[in-house]
C-alpha cells in the first residue's frame, strides 16, 4: 500500500489496545526471574528461586516437572502425529478419490468440523473406561486426536484441493497407480500443509487442559496444563513468581515454535478455515 501520512493514528489506537497484553507478557517474563515487592511494579533483584521447580519438587506430593513435561511432550507429539497421519490419508480420499458416499462424508465432515465436542466428555469417559484406557496417556491421545481429526481432515483437504489435477493426471498417464501418484507426486506438494497441521496439532495438544483434567486425573499422567493448574489452585502456596516461572517454562516451546513457524501458522489459520 502507499505510505500514508496519518498512520500514527492507527498506531496509537492499536498501541492502547495492545498495552494490557504487552504488560502481561512483559511481567510474565520479569516476574519469573525477579518478583517486585508487593504493591510495587518495579522489579527487584534477579531471583532465580522461582525456577527451583526445575531441580526440586515444589511439594513432595507432586510429580517431578520433568516427568510432567515428558508426558506433555508425548501427548502433544503423538496426537499431532496421529492427527496428521489420518488427516493426510482421509483428506486425500475426500479431495480426490471417486468413491461411493463421498458427498455424505464431506457433509459429515463439515458438521463435525463445527461440532461442540467438549459436551461429549461424559460419554467419552464411558468409552475410554470400556476400552480400559481411562487415566492413561494413550486414552487422552486417542480422544484428542479424534476430536482434532475433522479440523485436520478439513485442512488437508483444503491443501489437496490446491494441487493441480493435471499433476495427478500426468502421473496416471505416466503409468503410476493412484496410490503411487498420491505417495510420490501429490504428497510432496502438500508438505507445507503437513508441516502446518503437525505444528498446529502439536500446539493444541501442548495446551490441552480439560481432556487430561477429566480423563487422566492420575499423577503419572499429569501434563503441564493440569500440573500448573494444580499448583495455582493449591491454597498452601500462592506465589505468582513461581506460577509465572512455570508458565514461562510451559510456554517456551510455544514461543519458539511461533518464532520459527510464524508463516505456516498464519497460513493455516487463514487458509484452513476457508470454505
Amino acid at each position: 500500500m502507499t505510505a500514508h501520512p496519518r498512520i500514527w493514528h492507527l498506531v496509537l489506537i492499536l498501541s492502547i489496545f495492545s498495552t494490557p497484553l504487552v504488560i502481561m507478557y512483559v511481567y510474565q517474563v520479569i516476574d519469573s526471574i525477579a518478583s517486585p515487592d508487593p504493591g510495587s511494579l518495579i522489579p527487584g533483584e534477579i531471583d532465580l528461586s522461582n525456577w527451583r521447580f526445575l531441580w526440586e519438587r515444589i511439594d513432595m506430593g507432586r510429580p517431578s516437572i520433568w516427568m510432567v513435561t515428558f508426558n506433555t511432550f508425548i501427548f502433544a507429539s503423538t496426537t499431532a502425529f496421529l492427527v496428521t497421519l489420518l488427516s493426510t490419508t482421509a483428506g486425500y480420499a475426500l479431495s480426490r478419490l471417486d468413491m461411493p458416499g463421498r458427498p455424505y462424508f464431506l457433509g459429515g465432515l463439515i458438521i463435525l468440523h463445527a461440532f461442540p465436542t467438549i459436551t461429549l466428555i461424559i460419554a467419552i469417559f464411558i468409552i475410554l473406561q470400556f476400552l480400559g484406557l481411562f487415566d492413561t496417556l494413550l486414552g487422552i491421545i486417542l480422544v484428542k486426536a479424534a476430536l482434532e481429526l475433522p479440523f485436520g481432515v478439513w485442512i488437508m483437504k483444503g491443501f489437496y484441493d490446491t494441487v493441480p489435477w493435471e499433476i495427478e493426471m500426468a502421473g496416471v498417464q505416466d503409468g503410476a497407480s493412484r496410490f503411487r501418484v498420491w505417495w510420490e507426486l501429490v504428497l510432496p506438494q502438500v508438505k507445507p500443509g503437513l508441516a502446518a497441521l503437525l505444528i498446529i496439532s502439536f500446539l493444541s495438544g501442548w495446551s490441552e487442559f480439560v481432556l487430561p483434567l477429566v480423563l487422566a486425573p492420575g499423577s503419572s499422567t499429569q501434563v503441564l496444563s493440569t500440573y500448573m493448574n494444580a499448583v495455582i489452585q493449591d491454597d498452601a502456596s500462592a506465589d505468582f513468581g513461581l506460577f509465572k516461572a512455570i508458565g514461562m517454562f510451559y510456554s517456551i516451546p510455544v514461543i519458539v515454535i511461533y518464532l520459527v513457524f510464524q508463516k505456516q501458522l498464519m497460513n493455516i489459520y487463514g487458509g484452513g478455515t476457508k470454505g
Binding site: E166, I167, M169, A170, G171, V172, S177, R180, P188, Q189
Partner: protein, 347 residues
C-alpha cells in the same frame, strides 16, 4: 499407430457432452481438435487417454481395443496445458518418471532420458527443477516426459496456451519437428486456429460436441463447409454480408456483385469475403467509406462501411496512404466469394 474412435459418447450426469462421434487419426499423422471453448475437445482427449471413462463407443489403438483399458495400461503420452510437471522433481526425474514406475534399471532410465533430452534440446538443463525453467523449457520437459515411453499416441492439450507470443512461435515448429522426427501419431487440442493450421496435417473442427468439418488446413481455409467454419478460421476474420441471389447478388444495401461462377442457389444467402480478397488491387465494385484503419506493421487493417450499410474488412500492405473518412471503391478477387445458405451450410 492408427487411432480410431467409434461412436464415442460421453455424458456428465445428465448432460451429454459428446454423442456418437467418429474420428480416425492416421498413423504418423498430427491431427488438430479445434473448436470454441466448451465444445468438448478436452473431453475427447481425456477419453482417449483413459482419464475419463467412455459412456459409449469404442476406441482402438491400431487393432487393439483399448476402450476398457485403464489410463495406466494405455500407451499414451500427454502434454498438459500448464505442463503439469512435478514441481519437486528435477527435469531429469520428471522425464524419467514413466520409466521409473515401470521399474526400469536406473542406468537405462538415464540413457533414455538423455536421448529424449537431446531430442527436445534441453540436455544441459536436466538438474533443474521446473521452477527454475522458463516456460518454453518446461514445455520441452513435458514433451520429453510424454514421449519417453514411446507411446502409441501423443496427446497435446493446448500446449502453447501459456506461452508468450514469441515462444509460442518457436515451440510451434519445435513440436511439429519432434512429431515428424519420431513419426508418432498425435492429437493437438487447441482453440487457436493459427496453431491448428500451422502445426497439423488435418484439422477436426468441433462445435457442441460434434465434428463439423475434418480436412487439411488449406482445404478448410479455402473451402469451408459452413459459415461457422469460415468464420472460425482466418485472421483477421472473414466478413459476412447478407445478400439476395438472383441474376446477380444484391446486397442488403442495394449494391450488386457479380454471381460467382458455380453458385446455383437463389434467394437469401450470406456472402463471406476474406479481408485479403477485398481491396483496391482487386479492381472496383463496392463503394464505401473507410471508418477505421489499424496499422499493424507490415500490413494495415481497414474497415470499410459500405454505402447503404454493411461493414467489410480489408487487409492491405502497409504504407498505402489510407485515412479514415476516405471514400473508396474497391473490388473483390474473383472466385473467392463464399456463399452460405440461411442455415449456415455452404452453397
Amino acid at each position: 499407430m492408427e487411432l480410431r474412435l467409434e461412436n464415442f459418447t460421453k455424458r456428465f450426469g445428465d448432460v451429454t457432452v459428446i454423442e456418437n462421434m467418429d474420428l480416425t487419426v492416421n498413423s504418423g499423422e498430427m491431427m488438430a481438435l479445434l473448436g470454441p471453448s466448451g465444445c468438448g475437445k478436452s473431453t475427447t482427449l481425456f477419453a482417449i487417454c483413459g482419464i475419463h471413462k467412455m459412456n459409449g463407443g469404442a476406441l482402438y489403438f491400431g487393432d487393439r481395443d483399448v476402450t476398457t483399458v485403464s489410463a495406466q495400461g494405455r500407451s499414451v503420452g500427454v502434454v498438459f496445458q500448464n505442463y503439469a510437471l512435478y514441481p519437486h522433481m528435477t527435469a531429469e526425474q520428471n522425464i524419467g518418471f514413466p520409466l521409473k514406475v515401470q521399474r526400469m534399471p536406473k542406468a537405462e532410465i538415464r540413457r533414455e532420458v538423455e536421448r529424449l533430452a537431446d531430442l527436445v534440446q534441453i540436455g544441459n538443463l536436466l538438474d533443474r527443477r521446473p521452477a527454475e525453467l522458463s516456460g518454453g523449457q518446461q514445455q520441452r520437459v513435458a514433451l520429453a516426459r510424454a514421449m519417453i515411453r514411446k507411446p502409441d499416441v501423443l496427446l497435446l492439450d493446448e500446449p502453447l496456451a501459456n506461452l508468450d507470443a514469441k515462444l509460442r512461435l518457436e515451440m510451434r515448429s519445435e513440436i511439429r519437428r519432434i512429431q515428424r522426427e519420431t513419426g508418432i501419431t498425435a492429437i493437438l487440442v487447441t482453440h487457436d486456429q493459427v496453431e491448428a493450421m500451422s502445426m497439423c496435417d488435418r484439422i477436426a473442427l468441433m462445435r457442441d460436441g460434434k465434428i463439423v468439418q475434418l480436412d487439411t488446413p488449406e482445404q478448410m481455409y479455402r473451402n469451408p463447409q459452413s459459415q461457422f467454419v469460415a468464420g472460425f478460421l482466418g485472421n483477421p476474420p472473414i466478413s459476412f454480408l447478407p445478400a439476395r441471389a438472383d441474376a446477380s447478388l444484391t446486397l442488403a444495401n442495394g449494391q450488386t456483385i457479380e454471381r460467382p461462377p458455380g453458385l446455383e442457389a437463389m434467394g437469401d444467402v450470406v456472402l463471406g469475403i476474406r479481408p485479403e480478397h477485398f481491396g483496391p488491387q482487386h479492381g472496383t465494385g463496392l463503394k464505401g467509406k473507410v471508418v477505421f484503419v489499424e496499422p499493424q506493421g507490415r500490413e494495415e487493417l481497414v474497415d470499410v462501411r459500405l454505402d447503404g450499410g454493411g461493414d467489410i474488412r480489408s487487409i492491405l500492405p502497409a504504407g498505402d496512404p489510407i485515412r479514415p473518412g476516405e471514400t473508396v471503391d474497391w473490388g473483390i478477387a474473383p472466385g473467392t466469394i463464399l456463399a452460405f445458405g440461411p442455415n449456415g451450410d455452404r452453397l
